[in-house]
Point group: C2
Chain length 450, copies 2
């Protein structure tokens, strides 16, 4: 069962630190999971976090390092020598070690690598550092269990036991030929139930899903989800088995991708967290606000074109926020559904069919909203019936155009290889604001004449 | 490597169906993964999809059923008798079978259950149907490998082999006492490397994470992610082991949760897809638009209060969309970051501290945007310097208030147990529109006097 981190518990830890009671602290944290210790350290001040880190033994600290918030980890790594960092990394699997090394400065990176004890481990880590972090190569670990197709089950089991020492979780046993090329896989279950003298070539399953080192991480995630895989082997350009990606790495990819889309929809362009610095948050947020501000300039100009309306139909100006808000909301709804469809690969059929559907949908919604607006104008806001009719017609037109743009823009962006999620949020609301106001006043001008 | 579904391939299949070439179709789909066949069927018309379904053998069709879009599955199930459905379900694991049964009508449900061949399997499925689908009980499968603490390694390996027949993936071997209560776990690796006479009670790991049947699915996902688990045992109220949840189910939970938040941020209140019917899409979208429309009514009323300004400072009205858009965008940014922080459990510190930070951030961003706006007003839009100054001051005030509301509302909702994601999207933009306009005209009235 999960350990609950209470305020009292943290206060107790802070007190032990301030009283320099190392032994008691160690005893207290003895049975606490490293993920929980990391969470506690994230809450503490940095000198307190460092104190805890130095108190614990390196088997635990290595795992804690992985779980810490980026900022906290950075501070702790700064206080460690290259040799100390290397000792932590020796405890970790290659992919996790490579992730941590990748965060270091170039100089420290080299120092740390030269301090790694286990030469094979070091080689594997250096190898992993070559790959783009958003590719299968960047996700994979070198640790896996592989056997030669020419062995028999007995040799295989022996080799497996030796190899399994370094592998936390054995999902599949991969079968390779003498050149190291991936040939297939063996299931643990088959191995348990086959006679020990059977040659591997007779029992292995030659059909095995795999990805290449340069396959994009989101693509790896998609394949693993689709085929319900818990691990997938990674091969190089020559088809040689070089690593494997496990489902827990994919969970992170899925989470990050979803977070990114969500943030883009809200007008936040980098992966930021609430606890990041004001400068980082500004970098992620300000560009979108500037975009919206420039959109605002255009709308000021557009409204200026229609100032003649002010004398006779001042009331029209009171409806601007309503029209703009409806245009923005409809546009975001349409684009969000398309963006999600693209991301989940559930968007079937042509653009044309989709636009027709969106047209019917917005016509249907627009008519209902139009009726409410008309009644509202007439009874609630006691507008002139001609104005009520004008505003209602404009709303219908604005909703249809907004849903068109919301559908069309992300599909088109995706077609040209641009992330469609960019279309949601401020971009779509700003362009729909301007379009909406233009349509509104054009219709008003045509119907009321000013 | 992944199989790519081309248009040609689908056209070829459609032709085979229209020519009624069952054997050729079967040969063609022989080596195609069930997930791919499901994807093909989703693209076809429903009578074609049914044709394919009837051609294939039930080992494959059962898995296909699981992967189909809800609508397509529903149509196919409608065409099958209770006995046929039961045959499909006999091929599936208990959790998947329960998920499909749960979609049937009450009457058909009972018929199908009575037709299930394997009594143990049927019992397990019925048992699973009791649980809320959003709980650990609703996620778990009954298939697992468990051994008694009183056995020795040899008995254990024998039992395991027998049990493993029904379990696709053995993640952990769970250890229970005579009453079936979860005592701990065994790793496959330990089992491979321990002498066969050792009693289990000596080798098992007594510390094991678990969840209760009524733990919420998002909580299960959080725990499994945090502790990096690939499977977690589920216990009932008495601590008895009743099932296990595997990471692939959790991937779905994470995906759904992220999709839900994203849709709420875009003003879509139900789990809909681009391919859902217009009626379903309307149900998910229209309520938010009606909310925005009523917000629009209020803004019309608010603007009506300030119509005196129109005579002397008509220009002020041209800035309404700019002010409203900035208020909306800032509000959504702030609330999105808070909502994500709450969802990912990374929000440390008090509400007060967060508001102070958000204040500094919005002051900083607001000043930069204010300078751009002032220069823009003066040079681009050639406004009166007094108006430029008024609009700039208002913008600063509006940004600060919007970011306050964006931070305050989701945190408060969360405190009272309401999904904070409800605060993002139309709700926050609408309330910020109204607040923004009020603030803008109050400041304008104070500074320009009308």
């Amino acid at each position: 069962m999960e350990f609950k981190i209470s305020k009292d518990f943290i206060a107790h830890i802070e007190q032990l630190i301030s009283e320099n009671k190392e032994q008691e602290l160690n005893d207290l944290l003895q049975d606490v999971h490293f993920a929980d210790i990391a969470e506690i350290m994230d809450e503490l001040q940095s000198h307190e976090a460092s104190y805890i880190f130095n108190t614990l033994d390196s088997e635990k600290t290595a795992e804690i390092l992985l779980e810490l918030d980026d900022e906290v980890r950075e501070k702790i790594l700064k206080n460690l020598t290259a040799k100390e960092i290397a000792e932590e990394l020796d405890e970790l699997s290659t992919d996790d070690a490579a992730d941590i090394i990748a965060e270091l400065s170039k100089e420290k990176k080299e120092q740390v690598i030269s301090e790694l004890e286990d030469v094979e481990h070091a080689k594997d880590i250096v190898d992993l550092l070559r790959y783009d972090e958003d590719s299968a190569g960047g996700l994979m670990a070198k640790e896996l269990v592989k056997v030669n197709e020419n062995w028999n089950v007995l040799t295989c089991v022996k080799e497996m036991r030796a190899q399994a020492e370094n592998v936390t979780r054995v999902h599949s046993i991969y079968v390779v030929d003498d050149e190291g090329r991936l040939k297939g896989r063996l299931s643990l279950k088959d191995l348990l139930t086959t006679s020990t003298k059977t040659p591997i070539s007779e029992v292995y399953i030659p059909k095995v899903d795999y990805v290449k080192v340069d396959t994009e991480n989101v693509e790896v995630a998609r394949i693993m989800q689709k085929y319900d895989l818990e691990a997938i082997p990674v091969v190089d350009e020559l088809g040689r088995l070089v690593g494997r990606v496990t489902i827990d790495d994919i969970v992170d990819v899925i989470k990050e991708e979803a977070d990114k889309d969500y943030q883009l929809a809200a007008g936040i362009s980098q992966d930021v967290e609430a606890d990041d610095s004001i400068l980082e948050l500004t970098k992620a947020r300000l560009p979108w606000l500037v975009l919206a501000l420039f959109g605002g300039f255009i709308s000021v100009k557009v409204l200026g074109l229609f100032d003649a309306a002010m004398k006779e139909h001042a009331e029209l100006f009171f409806f601007i926020p309503l029209i703009a808000a409806m245009a923005g909301n409809v546009g975001v709804q349409s684009s969000a559904i398309v963006v999600q469809g693209i991301a989940n690969n559930t968007l079937n059929g042509s653009l044309w069919k989709r636009l027709v559907k969106e047209f019917s949908l917005s016509l249907f919604n627009g008519l209902i909203l139009g009726i409410i607006l008309f009644l509202g104008c007439y009874f609630l806001l006691s507008s002139d019936i001609k104005v009520a009719f004008t505003v209602t017609t404009a709303l219908l037109a604005v909703i249809i155009v907004a849903s068109f743009l919301g559908t069309f823009i992300p599909i088109t962006l995706d077609k040209y290889g641009i992330d469609p999620a960019l279309a949601t949020g401020p971009f779509i609301t700003t362009s729909n604001d301007i379009c909406g106001i233009l349509i509104y006043f054009f219709i008003a001008k045509a119907m009321l004449g000013f």
